[in-house]
């Protein structure tokens, strides 16, 4: 084939490729880049959402206020606490479930479906169900009913500042583990069986096989699961919105929930944008740190 024909074909393929990615890039720009740029832009204005025609430039005032705002710091602490606890909990739970259902036995697909099914239900619906489960009245709250039958005192799971966030963490880990389980399952099925056979011949126990065959082979999958779980955790909103409205004593108010209350409930749109901009920087920084920690040597 002549060289000129080859380059013309390559050029045509390149044009076709650009044409195909234009819609996706246009959507990304419209729904991601433009809002991000606007967020940073409005963060330096005093902007009451009910007064879009009366926006005043205030420079870095919103940022200076933000760093002195105890509600902002409380929201950040809550978000980090949720992330630090839920990421390892959910990852370990998902890996354990994946190991359980990776074996071939009668009815395994039923268990896989059961573990995955919370993922198929709306988080709002799940949150409402768990409100009932967590209700402090033993006559209506199933968990407290169980505790009382075991001779224990009922617990105000969602209204006690000491237990509210942990109750949300437990529910979130339960709900989210099914999805990560499927990712781990795919990773487990990609491990060559010969490696287990070789380890077995060398006398490796089940635990040793897990530590020296399974875990090294799942390294990439674990990194991916940790990264997506962390990003999802930082975006926590639905559970506190439905279950606790950020309370009690603001112990479940997360950064996204704080942005929402400032921007929509109180109409402080400029201030909400400054919180969102700072939060964006925090999430990106954490992702980069996580990437550095889990990077291959």
């Amino acid at each position: 084939m002549p060289a000129s024909n080859l380059s013309a074909r390559k050029r045509n393929e390149r044009i076709s490729a650009y044409v195909f990615i234009v819609p996706a890039v246009a959507l990304l720009i419209a729904f991601l880049v433009v809002p991000m740029v606007y967020t940073v832009y409005y963060s330096v204005f005093r902007y009451q959402v009910m007064r879009p025609d009366n926006i005043t430039f205030v420079g870095l005032k919103n940022y200076l206020e933000l760093f002195q705002d105890s509600d902002f710091w409380q929201s950040l602490r809550n978000t980090l606490y949720f992330t630090v606890v839920v990421v390892p909990t959910q990852t370990v739970l998902a890996l354990a479930l994946a190991l359980l259902v990776s074996k071939r036995f009668r009815g395994v697909s039923v268990f896989r479906t059961m573990y995955f099914s919370p993922q198929l239900t709306s988080m709002v619906v799940i949150s409402v169900l768990w409100i009932v489960l967590y209700n402090s009245n033993p006559n209506t709250g199933l968990i407290n009913s169980l505790l009382v039958n075991l001779g224990m005192q009922p617990v105000n799971f969602l209204t006690n500042p000491k237990t509210a966030m942990n109750a949300i963490i437990f529910m979130s880990a339960w709900q989210g583990a099914g999805y990560q389980m499927m990712i781990f399952l795919a990773g487990l099925q990609g491990i060559p069986g010969e490696q287990y056979e070789a380890a077995s011949i060398d006398g490796a126990s089940r635990v040793q096989q897990f530590l020296y065959v399974t875990l090294p082979n799942l390294r990439g999958t674990i990194k991916y699961v940790i990264m997506i779980t962390m990003i999802q955790a930082m975006k926590l909103f639905t559970q506190p919105y439905v279950m606790t409205q950020g309370g009690p004593e603001n112990k479940t108010r997360t950064m996204v929930y704080y942005i929402y209350t400032q921007g929509f409930q109180k109409g402080n749109f400029g201030y909400a944008c400054s919180v969102a901009a700072v939060f964006f920087v925090i999430v990106v920084t954490m992702s980069l740190i996580m990437q550095r920690i889990t990077a291959e040597d």
Partner: protein, 449 residues
């Protein structure tokens, strides 16, 4: 051929995207006045859209019937309504806020009574004074709540009131003096100490003594405000400019402590189940007139008495205010909307709407309508008496949205701590209410001072 196919496919995708983008402006277009056909002699039709929080079936049916009646009689002004979920929170308000930023408000917007000032001060709604020059037939609290800076900015068919419901069957089991409960009058209602003693007497393993409204929206400030006013100080100054010395006053701390004490002692649940009173889980409840129809399903006998008053002052006060219709700045034809509202607020429509929603009518003449006969008899007469004698409108201030959110949050925190510790911490109450006051001051000074 392959290249052509590729390009054609890409064009198709781009066109479909453009089509999606174009459809997003449909809401605004739908509000515009339309000219049907090219013939200049044909009548131009105005399409008006209403936003209102969704309500129970009887109210939704009322709207279907009434809009059909209006649309049949007025082919030139066609009205439609969107019922929007409120979710015992601020979901409806959030939708309105989004519509403000995107300039896509409906023609007629229902706003909660205390929010009338907020929307008016921000230029979201238009004055209605020219459409309702004479408001003498409307109850005073309605006119007060719908007025901002001397102009009427909204109008409502109904008012609201809250009273104390009690489970008669269960009270008998507890040995409560029912004659005493029936003897209270609008001028001499049950006092806080008597109310607390009643709640204590009726709190058992399966029942709590009372139910305090625990929604996470406007319900808390609405239902509890009369306690504060009765104890001597309202949430916010009468001119709506400051909360310092009001919501965080010693009287307000005392009032809040009284409520928190009911939770701390286990007389009320901090996370009550839905319809706690109807489901036979609490002996009494502080609730609105709308529960009268809800309680038709109750399998026990119940009664209603007047809203509790402070022992210190003995001043009877009850809540009032309801969702009111306002014309927005995006309205395509304010005069057509004004004409529709005049019809909607006629005494006959007010009476039938009031009966459908189980709330007292806002027009005095509506009470002559047979549909309102129930308000002359017990139990609805209790709410009507409160409304006529001691209704207190919520504060009229453009910073009410901020106040409502922060007050509800503070009360949730205070109640949660009381439930967890089993005792009332007045210094914590003071700290929380100080926080509410300072956030109000900041919002007012930033945007409205």
């Amino acid at each position: 051929m392959k290249r052509l196919f590729t390009l054609a496919l890409a064009c198709l995708m781009a066109l479909s995207l453009a089509a999606c983008g174009g459809s997003s402006g449909g809401g605004a277009d739908a509000n515009q006045t339309a000219d049907n056909g090219s013939d200049a002699n044909e009548t131009a039709v105005t399409y008006l859209n209403i936003w209102q929080p969704s309500d129970k079936e009887s109210v939704e049916n009322w709207w279907v019937e009434k809009l059909a009646e209006w649309n049949a009689a007025h082919p030139d002004i066609q009205v439609s309504r969107d019922a929007i979920d409120r979710s015992d929170s601020y979901a409806y308000d959030n939708k309105v806020a989004t519509a403000v930023t995107s300039n896509s408000l409906p023609d007629i917007l229902y706003v909660d009574g205390p929010q009338v000032s907020y929307y008016a001060a921000n230029g979201i709604t238009l004055p209605l004074t020219s459409y309702f020059p004479d408001t003498s037939d409307f109850v005073d609290s309605t006119v007060a709540e719908c007025t901002y800076n001397g102009d009427l900015y909204a109008i409502t068919a109904t008012e609201s009131s809250v009273a104390l419901y009690y489970n008669i069957d269960y009270m008998k089991e507890c040995g409560v003096d029912l004659d005493q409960l029936a003897a209270y009058t609008v001028d001499n209602p049950i006092k806080w100490s008597e109310f607390e003693a009643l709640a204590a007497q009726c709190t058992t393993e399966n029942y709590v003594g009372t139910h305090i409204v625990m929604d996470h929206g406007e319900g808390l400030p609405y239902a509890l405000e009369p306690m504060y006013v009765s104890n001597g100080v309202d949430y916010i100054s009468a001119d709506g400019t400051t909360a310092q010395g009001y919501v965080n006053s010693p009287e307000a701390v005392e009032t809040t402590a009284f409520l928190a004490n009911l939770i701390a002692k286990g007389y009320a649940n901090v996370d009550p189940i839905t319809d706690e009173f109807l489901n036979g889980a609490c002996a009494t409840e502080i609730q609105g007139s709308w529960d009268v129809t809800v309680l038709e399903a109750a399998d026990f006998e119940w009664g209603v008495t007047y809203y509790p008053v402070s022992d210190k002052t003995g001043t009877p006060v009850s809540p009032c205010g309801d969702w009111a219709a306002a014309i927005t700045r995006n309205c395509s034809n304010p005069d057509a909307a004004g004409e529709f509202l005049q019809w909607l607020m006629s005494p006959e429509n007010v009476a039938s709407y009031s009966a459908a929603i189980s709330k007292p009518a806002s027009r005095l003449s509506a009470y002559d309508d047979p549909a309102m006969a129930a308000y002359k008899e017990y139990p609805l007469s209790v709410f009507q008496e409160e409304l006529s004698n001691n209704a207190s409108p919520r504060p009229r201030t453009p910073s009410y949205a901020t106040f409502s959110t922060d007050y509800a949050e503070a009360m949730t925190n205070i109640f949660a701590r009381a439930a967890s510790n089993g005792e009332v911490d007045e210094s914590y109450i003071q700290e929380q209410l100080d926080n509410v006051a300072s956030k109000f001051e900041k919002d007012y000074n930033d945007y409205y001072a």
